[in-house]
Amino acid sequence: MIWETVRLALRSVRRNALRSFLTLLGIVIGVAAVIAMLTIGSGTTEKVKADISQLGSNLLIVRAGRPAAPGSGPQQTIRQLGEKEVAALTAHLEGVRAVSPASQKQVRVVFGTESLTSSITGTDNAYLDARDWKLASGRPFSESEVRGGINVCLIGETVRQQFFGSGDPDGAAVRIGRVSCKVVGLLEAKGYSGFGQDQDNVVLMPLSAFQRRIAGSRDIETIYVAADDATPTQVVQTRIEDIMRDTRRVTADREDDFSVRDMTQIADAMASATATMTGMLGAVAGVSLLVGGIGIMNIMLVSVTERTREIGIRLAIGAHEKHILIQFLVEATVLSLLGGLIGIAIGLALAGAASLALSIPFAPSLAVVLLAVGFSALIGMVFGFFPALRGARLDPIEALRHE
């Protein structure tokens, strides 16, 4: 009996193929959006999680300027970080693996006829430690190179690809702005960050060389601090703040003129931002599903009206009210389920394309797919109920007289 009804419903859907398809569009778009959003969302979350460990675990970032407070507006003058703070942190900070200063600038790098705008970072060897970054080949900077500000550099995978293909860059001299710099090592590939930034498009050089020849100032943008595994980052953060206040003579009654951020917290915040985004887009998709449901209701009302005579015949012949009710409910459900299945296929295809384009993992979830199937069936039942009930309640005599 139920199989009979499903066959009947499929036949009626096929008979009005174009109309059915147009009706389904709302459901298709809604389900496709939900599936795509949730799949892309969970891919992004996975990526962010992977990035946390890639950034270096237990990483804290010290910057000049007071911590951004909502509505505080731009700060007038920022007292930059310098040698003094690095020295103080290196000397007094306990429970850490590495302390490393770093400054950055986007500069055009040239080798032969090729060129590339890359992120030039002035730093020291501790930077590699702090960010859990290893060398694929070559060597780190030597003590004397760091101290003397010699023009040597470590390049990222993207820079190597651009200039040397898969060849060995060791010993080559690249030009950074107006400065010639000898490549001494190749950094391990890190891929894209969760922010969509190519982490391998970098050139590292000794901080003093960078300050003198590239930046033209002795400011230090960032101090990276990696806590050791035994010390929680919160504890290290407090210690950093104490030392920094001391060094920069920030009295207790004044606001800090620096900020210490915990990368783990940032990553968490970003993951939750992603979740919020997903939720909002999900709500939009929900509205589209609602519209789709109303579309189904509309088309089922049309269908019931068109088939009033058929309903009259069935009732006269001995159909129960519930037979008619089930017939139209099944039809509405089959219709929206069909829309749901098409939507799932499109949604997964979109998410697959997006994961290729954004280089995030493709993370389809069976639970989400099943949920979408269930939800679209539910929409059919809910929005098909009123039209079906209307059909079932028809008076057979009136219905038979209907033209």
Partner: protein
């Protein structure tokens, strides 16, 4: 024959509307029809024939009075119970055939069996048999659009008898057919009445069609004007 009549109208009234606009479609009808009878109902337009047929077929209920069908007070049953009665005991043939469009003859005939919960293969067998009885072998897979009016009415009759009902209700079954086709349909109904003992109540406007029946009841203004039995049928 059973002791109680199959159909028993007891002071049946059917009125539509209220006050000034009230229409008395049936004004206190008393009527009894036994199992196995073939009854023709005649009368001018608006005299209440269809109204009476709807009550006989358990599609409608009287405004007042009692309608007894097979000994039950069918006029007091709710619509789902009456649906069960129709499905089990009553077959319908309409003037306009009322087949499902774009649905084959066999599928149309199977329809009442679906609501009886008969299994698919058995349904098909029974439908084929009913179609053979009405002389439509070889047309089982034609849709109504591919059949003539007479053939469509035969499909409708097959659909009405496939459940082996006790009563066949036919409201102007030949109303849309030419004379030759009308007489073929009447011969078919007569044989169903005589061979299978099917009780038939039929509305017609034509005397030569009514002549096939053993009893003719004439309606006028919601009353029974005359009720005559053919002598040889008695």
């Amino acid at each position: 024959m059973s002791l109680a009549p199959l159909i028993a109208f007891d002071k049946v009234w059917k009125t539509y509307g209220h006050g000034e606009a009230e229409v008395r479609a049936l004004a206190g009808i008393d009527l009894a029809i036994d199992e196995g009878e073939f009854v023709a109902i005649m009368g001018p337009s608006g005299s209440g024939k269809s109204t009476a047929m709807n009550i006989v077929g358990c599609l409608d209920t009287p405004t007042s009075g009692h309608y007894g069908f097979m000994g039950t007070d069918a006029g007091r049953l709710d619509r789902n119970r009456r649906a069960v009665l129709r499905n089990l005991y009553i077959g319908f043939v309409f003037q306009g055939y009322n087949l499902l469009p774009r649905t084959t003859a066999a599928e149309n005939v199977e329809l009442p069996l679906i609501y009886r919960g008969v299994a698919a293969h058995e349904r098909r067998t029974l439908a084929m048999k009913a179609l053979a009885e009405v002389g439509l072998e070889g047309r089982e897979h034609h849709t109504p659009a591919e059949l003539s009016g007479g053939q469509q009415q035969r499909v409708a009759i097959a659909r009405a008898i496939v459940t082996r009902p006790t009563l066949l209700v036919a409201d102007e079954p030949t109303g849309n057919l030419d004379t030759a086709r009308s007489h073929e349909i009447m011969q078919l109904l007569t044989s169903l009445n005589q061979d299978a003992g099917l009780t038939i109540v039929m509305v017609t406007h034509e005397a030569d069609i009514a002549a096939y029946a053993g009893r003719t009841i004439a309606f006028r203004d919601g009353h029974i004007a005359s009720d005559t039995k053919k002598l040889e049928a008695a």
